[in-house]
């Protein structure tokens, strides 16, 4: 192997990488918050919602979980404009990520809700709590705590999956790497650096979510 590795381009191109990291973080943040919210809403709909909504949510979840993220992205960005829904690449990327995480989050949160004994629901009602209160305090919060590790992994997976949004020209970290390697012809080094950054982001995000879990569920943390 006669190849001299050269990371000299880093000196010139680190602002590009930094900007890409910023976009990836932003996408993850928005996608994470909205995606989990959508997941909670869908889990509520499937567990306690009106009868007609259950098959709709189930179809949505199955559809998303059984198709690649890349295709969902293409469908949102290239396909939806045919219906008159035109949006920028960042909006499309965000929308696709929210829809994606929403479906997985729904399944994960639903598993947590199902693990709540039915009697707790009745206990909540007998304490004079409203349906919403019961759902929030008795069902949802303990359920979220139970499935927090699984949900965290899913958020990390979505963050890593966001590498695909470079394909619709959203200027994330992968896009930055593509740009740099097209300028420097140092493809391997560029992608190697980008991969390391993704790894660092994943490790950081995991720790952050763990810390967040401790903050949100403080009293019950001592299990």
């Amino acid at each position: 192997m006669n190849y001299a590795f050269d990371f000299g381009w880093l000196a010139d191109y680190w602002p590009v990488l930094l900007k890409g990291i910023g976009i990836t973080v932003e996408l993850t943040l928005v996608g994470g918050v909205l995606g989990v919210s959508l997941g909670i809403a869908c889990a509520w709909a499937r567990a306690l919602g009106p009868v007609w909504i259950k098959p709709v949510v189930a179809a949505y979840v199955e559809m998303i979980r059984n198709t690649p993220f890349l295709i969902q992205l293409f469908f949102v960005f290239f396909g939806l404009p045919a219906l008159g829904l035109r949006m920028g690449e960042l909006q499309a990327a965000n929308l696709a990520m929210v829809i994606n995480l929403g479906a997985y989050g729904c399944e994960i949160i639903r598993a947590g809700i199902q693990a709540t004994p039915r009697g707790q629901f009745e206990a909540g009602a007998s304490l004079g709590m409203s349906r919403i209160q019961t759902f929030w305090y008795v069902v949802l919060i303990p359920a979220l705590q139970r499935i927090w590790p699984a949900l965290s992994s899913q958020i990390v997976i979505v963050m890593l999956g966001s590498a695909a949004v470079s394909q619709i020209a959203a200027e994330d970290l992968t896009f930055a790497a593509n740009f740099i390697q097209s300028r420097t012809f140092r493809a391997f080094e560029t992608y190697f650096a980008a991969t390391l950054i993704y790894l660092a982001l994943a490790v950081l995000l995991r720790q952050l979510l763990r810390g967040l879990g401790w903050t949100i569920f403080p009293k019950r943390a001592a299990r």
Binding site: N2, T67, L70, I71, F74, F75, G79, A163, Y198
Partner: protein, 219 residues
């Protein structure tokens, strides 16, 4: 511009879907073999094996599959080989699949109650005998549903290989879109074909889980 009928679109996509299926099979089978080796390294005794397997799994689970594909594509090129897309795609997917399967299976092996290890060792069984006769048969029962479930991720993972130029279902979708200017129809069909590939796997994973009654078994 060519005139494409809906049937032309679908036929082109279905032809390309064969490559998606083939790549998925290769990745899954190859990944299982490498994953099994990793599993033994991970749960084995000694220090080097587990440390290596742990790092490997962490690296592959902590980085995007797309980056792994790029690195395989350009990394193999460093050796002066002219890398065809299928080779980089197959290699990256096999290594990626192996990492996830090894981790899934480790959980299954660890779900076997500790008393089983102690009981079998008190019967004078060696490590390999314990594995062969006591641990793996029980772990296998637990492992089947999540393994089938993960095969869905493999099928979906192959979509990313379109980005390094492997012509499978997703790439065909892009190509057909460029020829027909009907992204809604084309990507709709592409999604539908993926769904038809993945949904039976997801469903059978669920059914197997219920059938093997793993969730409700207590140790």
């Amino acid at each position: 511009m060519n005139d494409f009928s809906t049937w032309d679109i679908l036929r082109n996509l279905l032809m390309a879907a064969r490559w998606t299926v083939l790549l998925s099979l290769v990745s899954f089978v190859g990944g299982s073999l490498v994953g099994l080796a990793l599993l033994f390294a991970r749960i084995g005794k000694g220090r080097l094996g587990p440390a290596f397997a742990k790092t490997y799994i962490e690296l592959f689970q902590g980085t995007p599959l797309l980056m792994q594909l790029f690195l395989a594509f350009f990394g193999l090129g460093l050796f002066g080989i002219d890398v065809p897309a299928w080779l980089a795609a197959g290699l990256a997917l096999i290594l990626w699949t192996a990492a996830f399967l090894a981790e899934i299976w480790r959980g299954c092996v660890e779900s076997v109650a500790k008393g089983q290890w102690e009981a079998s060792s008190s019967l004078g069984m060696g490590y390999l005998q314990q594995m062969r006769w006591v641990i793996l048969p029980q772990a296998l029962r637990v492992a089947v549903p999540p393994t089938v479930g993960f095969s869905v991720q493999v099928v979906k993972g192959t979509a990313l290989t379109s980005i390094i130029g492997f012509v499978e279902l997703s790439k065909a979708g892009t190509m057909v879109t460029n020829a027909t200017f009907e992204p809604f129809t084309v990507y709709g069909f592409v999604a539908l074909i993926y769904f038809c590939l993945c949904w039976p796997l997801s469903k059978s994973s669920q059914i197997l889980e219920r059938k093997l009654n793993v969730a409700h078994r207590n140790h």
